[in-house]
Symmetry: C2
Subunit: 230 residues, 2 copies
């Protein structure tokens, strides 16, 4: 791999890596980078909503955001990523969950707490709230965005699993840990979807409540899971 490639990789959003909590000095460079990330993402959302993903070209997005196509690809690896990468504050959730796990918290609680905090923060910020809703709607209606979202989710789960192994030592039941992370992530995604659906219908809904409902529903069924099958 060439040096150029390495540098590019460092600066391309391959999954989700907005350093939300890093309170570094952040010079002009970093500030502009974030602004551009945001602008490009907004342009993508806008165009996807208006014309659909397939009808929207990278050139369209780049032009709307006022950058060249070449530069677009330095910010997002695909047009789908422009919408999916920072999709809700995933970066924050991951950081908190990993931190909690490394601090010795039970894995399920660590991840669930991190999500709960995000839910609350979303409720507190009307702007993020609205943006998240638009993104979820898009992801629901556009298969290519869903595909990208699921891939990102899988990547996050692997990170979490790695963190858990790292924190708890190799004695941990990796398989079950991975399964639990997956179930929680999935449930969260379904909760967001349902939330988007309800808001769409005019009802006002809370992601948190939907998640808890879903959780309870799963629990009811799961009580039988320790029984043998057949």
């Amino acid at each position: 791999m060439t040096e150029t490639a390495t540098l590019a990789a460092r600066y391309t959003i391959s999954m989700n890596q907005l350093p939300v909590l890093t309170a570094a000095p952040m010079g002009l460079r970093e500030r502009r980078r974030r602004d551009t990330l945001r602008e490009v993402s907004n342009a993508a959302i806008e165009l996807f909503e208006r014309n659909g993903v397939t009808e929207t070209t990278v050139d369209d997005i780049a032009e709307t955001a006022g950058i060249s196509q070449r530069t677009f690809f330095r910010y997002y690896s695909t047009k789908e990523q422009a919408v999916c990468a920072c999709d809700v504050g995933l970066g924050t959730v991951m950081e908190r969950a990993v931190a909690a796990i490394r601090a010795g918290a039970p894995v399920v609680a660590a991840l669930e707490d991190a999500w709960m905090r995000l839910f609350d923060e979303l409720d507190a910020s009307p702007e993020e709230h609205r943006r998240t809703l638009r993104v979820r709607r898009l992801v629901q209606s556009e298969p290519t965005l869903l595909a990208r979202t699921l891939a990102n989710e899988a990547e996050r789960i692997e990170e979490l699993t790695a963190a858990a192994v790292d924190a708890a030592g190799p004695g941990i039941d990796v398989l079950t840990a991975r399964a639990l992370f997956t179930v929680i992530s999935t449930t969260t995604r379904l909760a967001f979807d349902e939330w988007a659906r309800r808001v769409e219908k005019g009802a006002d809904a809370s992601v948190r409540d939907i998640y808890l409902d879903l959780r309870r529903g799963l629990g009811t069924y799961a009580k039988h899971l320790t029984d043998d099958l057949r």
Copy 2:
């Protein structure tokens, strides 16, 4: 949409639709089609294993399979699909699960039974067994294949959910049903992954047993899920 597009769609594997159980007369045409599907898939597996997905072009696969690039795309919509589409006998599982659900079986049991039957059939057919192993290994090591697999999985879950709603009427708890299907599908996938890992290490493992272990493990944790969070 033009007529050509419609026809093409009918004949392109967009997810997984090998009509495994259709005992129709099956003329020469259909037989050849299946042979080609298989050959192309084999070529893809072979080349992906040898050179990796990104290093393998559609032209490479097409040439190896002895068809033109244009024809390749009439069989599979992307090079990833050539490996992921018929990935284990998903078609069979889906058909059986949907049939059972329409016949009034409980949704969880319907899907789990269908998977169990596939596990057993895999154990009974060394060839399919081996092929499945190669595919799972590839999917594990190649992110683009994983992405495709997850997207296919999501598509299947929607089909199942639709079948459940259709069979049980709109009174059903769609949200929970979708969640249960997702959890089962996910668990199955993780079981296959673990199975591939173990076989890799020389241990001989059974997907069925791993699935049941995982199921029990989840059940143990899930007993607490009906308790309120915090």
